[in-house]
C-alpha cells in the first residue's frame, strides 16, 4: 500500500494540496477532504501516516477532529497537525499546532521531515528497534564519587543517533587516579550513521584502553590510531567518513584535564563565577590520513564543572551580537554532552581538587 497523507481542509484555492503534493513527490499519496466528518471517514478508510486538519472546517471544529483521531488506536500511531490555530482550546490532542497566519515554507518543511521520519520507522521498524536497543546499551552510567560526579545528555535527532559517548573510572591507586572518556559525532543520522557510530565507539573504547594500560603515552596516539582505522575500514568507499571526536582524561593526582580534539566543538570550563570556552581547531577523524593530532592540558584549579558536547548542543548557544539566537530551527541535530562536576574536598585530603 502506498503511504498516504490526509489533508482535511476546505482549501479553496488548492494551495495546500498542491504544496503538499509537490513536497511529497513520489513518497506518498495526498488524500483530501473538505469537511470534518468526511475527513474522519477517510481517515478510517486510508490509515494515513500523517493528517493535517484545518481549524476552520464547515461542519465540526478542527481541534475536535484532531482529538477524535488521536483517541483511536490507529490515530495514536499517526502524526496529527492542527493548522490555522487562533486560540487554544482544552483537550486538543494534535501533535503539532500551527498558528495563523501560516508560514507555508516552514509548514511544508516540517511536514516533509515528520513524514520521512515516520516512513523510515514504519518500513524498518524491527531493524530500528534493535538498533535503538543496541545504542541505549552502549550509553554510560551516571557516576558519583567523593571528588566528582559525571552525568550525560543524549537526544537523537531522529530515533537513532550518529553521536556516541563513554567514560569510566578505574579504581584509583597511589600512582594513578584518572577518569577516561570520549564523545563523538558521526555524519548524519538514522541507520547508516548508526553503523558508523557503532564502529567508532568500539574503536575509541579499544584505543583509549591502550592509554589506560600505558601502551600509549598520550591521547594524540589514540586519535591517530582511530583515524588510521577509519581509513582502513572505509578504504573502498568514495564517501569521506568524517567523525568529530574528543578524547579526555581527568587526572585527579596531577590535577589537570588532558584532551585531544578532532574537529570537536569548544569545551566549557565552569569556575566559581566564570565560564571559560576552550576553542579547538583540528581536522575531524577521516579527513586526512596524515593529520597530526595534539594532546592539550588545562589545570583544574578552581574548576567546578567541565562540559563536553557535540555541535548539536553547542550550536544552540550561539547568538549574534544583539544576543539573539541565530538558528532558524529549534533543533536540527543529535544532541549529546558529558557533564563532569568536580567537588571541593578538605584541603588536607590527598586526592581532592
Amino acid at each position: 500500500m502506498i503511504p498516504s497523507l490526509l489533508l482535511v481542509s476546505e482549501d479553496p484555492q488548492d494551495f495546500l494540496k498542491k504544496g503538499l503534493r509537490e513536497i511529497m513527490e513520489d513518497t506518498a499519496q495526498v488524500i483530501t477532504s473538505g469537511s470534518g466528518l468526511e475527513g474522519l471517514l477517510k481517515f478510517q478508510e486510508t490509515s494515513p501516516m500523517l493528517v493535517i486538519v484545518d481549524s476552520d472546517l464547515p461542519d465540526i471544529c478542527g481541534a475536535s477532529i484532531t482529538s477524535i483521531i488521536k483517541d483511536t488506536p490507529e490515530g495514536r500511531k499517526t502524526i496529527v497537525y492542527l493548522i490555522n490555530v487562533r486560540s487554544l482550546l482544552l483537550n486538543v490532542k494534535a501533535d503539532r499546532l500551527i498558528s495563523a497566519p501560516i508560514n507555508y515554507e516552514v509548514l511544508f518543511e516540517q511536514v516533509h521531515q515528520d513524514f520521512e521520519r515516520k516512513l523510515f520507522y514504519h518500513t524498518r521498524s524491527a531493524e530500528v528497534e534493535q538498533a535503538i536497543s543496541n545504542q541505549q546499551g552502549m550509553l554510560p552510567s551516571k557516576l558519583k564519587h567523593d571528588n566528582f560526579e559525571v552525568d550525560f545528555l543524549y537526544s537523537p535527532y531522529n530515533t537513532l543517533s550518529g553521536d556516541g559517548m563513554f567514560y569510566w573510572y578505574p579504581p584509583p591507586t597511589d600512582t594513578k587516579n584518572v577518569l577516561y572518556g570520549f564523545l563523538f559525532d558521526c555524519t548524519g543520522h538514522d541507520l547508516s550513521s548508526y553503523g558508523q557510530a557503532g564502529m567508532v565507539w568500539v574503536t575509541l573504547r579499544h584505543q583509549l584502553d591502550f592509554l589506560q594500560k600505558d601502551i600509549y603515552s598520550n591521547l594524540a596516539m589514540v586519535l591517530d590510531s582511530v583515524n588510521k582505522d577509519t581509513f582502513r575500514f572505509y578504504c573502498n568507499s568514495d564517501e569521506p567518513q568524517l567523525t568529530s571526536v574528543i578524547v579526555f582524561c581527568v587526572d585527579f593526582l596531577k590535577k589537570e584535564l588532558r584532551f585531544a580534539p578532532a574537529g570537536a566543538p569548544e569545551i566549557l570550563i565552569k569556575k566559581e563565577n566564570t565560564l571559560k570556552r576552550i576553542q579547538t581547531s583540528s581536522h575531524p577523524i577521516g579527513f586526512s590520513e596524515d593529520t597530526e593530532y595534539e594532546e592539550k592540558s588545562v589545570p583544574l584549579e578552581n574548576v567546578k564543572e567541565i562540559i563536553f558536547s557535540t555541535d548539536g548542543l553547542s550550536e544552540l548557544f550561539l547568538c549574534n551580537q544583539e544576543g539573539r539566537f541565530v538558528l532558524h530551527e529549534a533543533k536540527h541535530d543529535d544532541v549529546s554532552a558529558i557533564f563532569i562536576k568536580l567537588k571541593d574536598k578538605n584541603p588536607s585530603t590527598m586526592d581532592g581538587i
Binding site: D185, T187, H189, S244, Q279, H283, P284, F287, D311, H332
Partner: protein, 95 residues
C-alpha cells in the same frame, strides 16, 4: 541549476541559508553535472550560507578530494560557517 553555476572550468557552489543533510543529494546531482560539463575546479561561496552541518562538511570534503586541493577554495565565510571551518582546522580553504 539551483546551487551550482559553471564559469569555464570552475564550478561555483553557493548554498543559501542552512546547508544541511536534506539538500546534499540535490547538490551532489548538480556537482556531478558540473563535472560532466568539464569542471575541474571548485569555489565554495558561503556568502549566503548561514549554517552548515557535518553532512555538508562531508560533501565539501568529497569535492575537495575530487578536484584536488590546489583546485579547491572557499570564500565569504562568516558567523557559524566560519566557526565550523575553524573548529575543523579548514580555514586554509578560504582564499
Amino acid at each position: 541549476m539551483k546551487y551550482v553555476t559553471v564559469d569555464g572550468d570552475t564550478m561555483i557552489l553557493s548554498v543559501p541559508g542552512n546547508y544541511k543533510f536534506s539538500i546534499t543529494k540535490a547538490i551532489d546531482y548538480e556537482v556531478q553535472t558540473a563535472y560532466q560539463n568539464g569542471c575541474t575546479k571548485a569555489v565554495i561561496d558561503f556568502n549566503d550560507t548561514t549554517t552548515m552541518d557535518s553532512a555538508s562538511l562531508r560533501q565539501l570534503t568529497k569535492i575537495y578530494r575530487q578536484v584536488n586541493k590546489e583546485n579547491f577554495s572557499a570564500k565569504n565565510a562568516k558567523g557559524l560557517v566560519l566557526a565550523v571551518l575553524k573548529q575543523n582546522n579548514l580555514e586554509n580553504w578560504l582564499r
